[in-house]
């Protein structure tokens, strides 16, 4: 017998049962910043707090935070803890770019509901077996590590019928990381075109959602949304494995409790 067999058994089952059972690590995770008080005193000055320009202040002094630009610097939480806090848990993904705004823009509710219904209809056939393809469109390398972690024994996405595939021809879901480097625009488009329908695209990480700190660079497109159509937007710098798993399950309609519900 290979000496590795007992080593694999020694620690018993280390795999999470999430989402069927709650997992304290998933629920306790510190996600992007969120707004606790949307109408604070002195709201007009708050926009300057964010080094990634995620905070905007309206004329009436109300503040809004774009989690799709939040790089988790924590400046706003440290400076104005009564206005900003950390979001908790893995559920940060949204089905529309505007869905990452906190507080939600009322006008986007209808568009979100429509996006949800359209995605549900499109992915009805993907429920039980899902194949993933990943493309790096200019990431810092951290998102890849977190996606790869889904294969380790703790997350083990094979238990959910989710597998990685080498060929875009066999892929249902495209995970895209990075700020949309110009050099990757064409390979990304070709990969997307090579996938059969129905297909779902998940933008993984703040850089993929809006370029993050690289927004405005001569070499990137401020996120991948300008290159291929994105269905699920997942902020985070980088998003941890549970958040990526949450976004995946949301994308294929296996989760009843996304942030949009």
């Amino acid at each position: 017998m290979s000496p590795w067999v007992p080593r694999g058994l020694r620690e018993g089952v280390v795999t999470t049962r999430w989402p069927r059972r709650p997992d304290p690590y998933a629920e306790g995770w510190r996600g992007p910043a969120t707004v606790l008080d949307p109408h604070p005193a002195g709201g007009a000055d708050l926009a300057a707090l964010c080094p990634a320009s995620a905070i905007s202040a309206a004329a009436d002094g109300s503040v809004r935070l774009d989690q799709g630009r939040c790089v988790l610097s924590g400046r706003c939480v440290a400076e104005r803890p009564e206005v900003f806090g950390w979001s908790r848990g893995p559920g940060h993904a949204a089905l529309a770019r505007d869905g990452l705004m906190v507080p939600r823009i009322p006008e986007t509710e209808q568009a979100l509901a429509a996006a949800r219904a359209a995605l549900r209809a499109r992915t009805a056939g993907l429920r039980r077996s899902v194949h993933l393809r990943h493309v790096d469109a200019g990431s810092d390398g951290a998102e890849e590590q977190e996606i790869l972690a889904l294969l380790n024994p703790v997350y083990d996405i094979h238990r959910l019928g989710i597998f990685f595939t080498a060929s875009p021809r066999h892929a249902d879901v495209l995970l895209v990381t990075g700020a949309g480097a110009h050099g990757m625009a064409e390979p990304l488009r070709r990969t997307f075109a090579g996938m059969p329908s129905p297909k779902v695209v998940i933008a993984v990480g703040t850089d993929a959602c809006g370029g993050g700190l690289l927004a405005g660079s001569y070499a990137t497109s401020d996120g991948v949304g300008g290159v291929i159509p994105v269905d699920v937007w997942l902020p985070g710098s980088p998003p941890p494995p549970f958040s990526i798993l949450h976004a995946l399950l949301l994308a294929v309609g296996r989760l009843a409790v996304g942030r949009d519900q």
């Binding site: 790096d136 972690a149 380790n152 990075g178 390979p187 993050g212 941890p240």
Partner: protein, 517 residues
């Protein structure tokens, strides 16, 4: 702790480019290591800055010395360094991409990180083509798109063909293209294209408040977030002449070593995966997950982001000293046991032995960094040679010596480093328990000036060459270990076949993000 050689970094302006190369090659012949070549756009022309890692001498401690010379205004070219010093091969290609100046006499001046088709149309100087020109003030240039047609394709010899491998490869990997030229199984020649994920990071530093730079540094090369933040902050601390408080210096060491553990475990898992050892792959990726969760519990980020700030650290670990020691003890025991088993699994060792050999004399000549250099008997670990933060006071232990130069030697180096890291983490946690009262941050005013900062990432030494004016960054040159080491990939395939490729790539353990920036 005051970093070695505080105050302004030594930099020398030399009259002309040929004299600069004379100084550089002379210094390298005298025992210095060529650590990088950067350029900066000045109103009058391009300034070339060569970085040299100098050994300790009676006059000065070991450090990084910068020698500079300007390309005369109006000249679109300068005599190349590469014919005199092969290690400058990629550096000069990159300078050509970013600034359009031509290193005359460069053996193969192909685009590296930003291919631009307009180069030939714009004539010899290339001055009309839009180039990023880091260091130039004013607004960032509008979108610059790489042009693949600017890249030649070489295939030579009867029966040879090219396998284009990338940029979208099988598996979850960063984007890079390997052009493998092969008659069928051997790999006589290999070309790399790293431009795909060029993000223009250095230009994004410019104009940013100095205080925000650390966020971008952490996101330059994600797998070495802490090391990049350290190198950036060391440069700023040198400009401000700030001394990092002792507890903060300890916290920095804790995070830097945990990052090294995670990275080396990742390499071990990839190598085991390549050899088809499913249980070993699962074990090492489980260990890595545990290390990353520990880091996450300590600071809220699985990559240690937000900990290192100019002048110190943002907070103490959110994990008690006893808890940290207990977790480290458990990890050390289980990782050590699995590592011993792996190094005794013959089917695994057979795949690594004599795979991807880097000759010791080439490693020395090139100044190969990190485990790649150490595996070939060349070691210039910044933690030992140019120590910073709490390293001068902590014992690194006896470094193991390897000179096999193959993938196996590089893995052995990593296990030695893992052993060392545990030793350092235990010491730092002990010291921190006694010293946790006190300031965590020294005043580090965003002054004017220029300095070089360095730190030892899991991949090897990272260098930041920072210039600041009025509290804003005017130029930030970044040289990651991945950049310096990846070029050696050209020469390690002697006698290897296609199926050795994943082992060689994993044994280098580099990140493309740090190369293409």
């Amino acid at each position: 702790m005051r970093p070695a050689g505080t105050g302004a970094s030594p930099s020398r302006l030399i009259g002309s480019v040929p004299e600069l190369w004379q100084a550089v090659t002379g210094s390298v012949a005298g025992g210095s290591r060529f650590a990088g070549l950067m350029a900066t756009q000045r109103p009058g022309g391009v300034l070339l800055s060569a970085q040299l890692a100098t050994p300790a001498a009676s006059a000065a401690p070991a450090g990084i010395v910068t020698c500079e010379a300007a390309v005369p205004p109006g000249d679109g070219s300068y005599p190349a360094l590469t014919p005199l010093l092969g290690a400058a091969f990629w550096y000069e290609r990159e300078i050509h991409d970013l600034f359009g100046v031509i290193p005359a006499g460069h053996p193969r001046l192909e685009p590296l990180i930003l291919p631009l088709g307009s180069e030939r149309a714009a004539g010899q100087g290339g001055s009309r083509a839009p180039r990023p020109r880091p260091g130039r003030s004013g607004p960032e240039p509008a979108g610059i798109w790489p042009d693949e047609h600017a890249l030649p394709r070489h295939v030579m010899g009867a029966g040879l063909f090219t396998i284009p491998h990338g940029p979208v490869r099988s598996g979850v990997l960063e984007s890079i293209e390997y052009l493998v030229e092969t008659p069928g199984e051997d790999i006589p020649h290999l070309n790399m294209r790293v431009f795909y994920k060029h993000r223009g990071v250095e230009k994004r530093f410019e104009g940013r408040p100095v205080a925000d730079g650390v966020l971008l540094a952490e996101r330059t090369e994600g797998v070495a977030s802490v090391a990049h933040a350290l190198a950036w902050c060391h440069a700023l601390e040198r400009i401000a002449d700030a001394a990092v408080p002792w507890p903060a210096a300890l916290v920095r060491v804790l995070h830097a070593e945990l990052e090294r553990l995670a990275s080396h475990l990742d390499t071990a898992a990839r190598l085991a995966d390549g050899a088809g050892l499913a249980v070993a792959t699962a074990r090492f990726s489980l260990h890595k997950e545990r290390v990353m969760r520990l880091v996450g519990r300590m600071c809220g980020s699985r990559f240690g982001r937000g900990v290192v700030i100019p002048g110190g650290v943002s907070a103490l670990p959110e994990v008690s000293g006893r808890e940290l020691q207990a977790e480290i003890g458990r990890l050390e025991q289980t990782i050590g046991s699995d590592a011993r088993e792996l190094m005794g699994t013959s089917s695994f060792l057979d795949r690594l032995r004599r795979t991807g050999p880097l000759r010791p004399e080439r490693a020395r000549e090139h100044g190969a960094l990190g485990p790649v250099g150490k595996g070939s008997g060349f070691s210039d670990d910044a933690r030992l040679a140019r120590p910073y933060d709490a390293y001068p006071a902590l014992g690194l232990g006896e470094p193991g010596h390897q000179e096999g130069g193959d993938a196996l030697a590089r893995l052995r180096v990593r296990w030695d480093e893992v052993h060392q890291s545990f030793h350092l983490i235990r010491q730092a946690a002990d010291e921190l328990g006694e010293a946790s009262a006190g300031a965590l941050r020294a005043d580090c005013p965003a002054g004017d000036g220029r300095a070089v900062g360095w730190a030892e990432a899991p991949q090897g030494e990272v260098l930041y060459d920072v210039r600041a004016e009025d509290g804003h960054v005017t130029r930030c040159g970044i040289r990651s270990a991945s950049y310096h080491n990846l070029v050696l990939f050209h020469e390690v395939f002697a006698g290897d076949i296609l199926t050795d490729f994943p082992f060689i790539e994993a044994s280098f353990g580099l990140s493309v993000a740090g190369v293409a920036r």
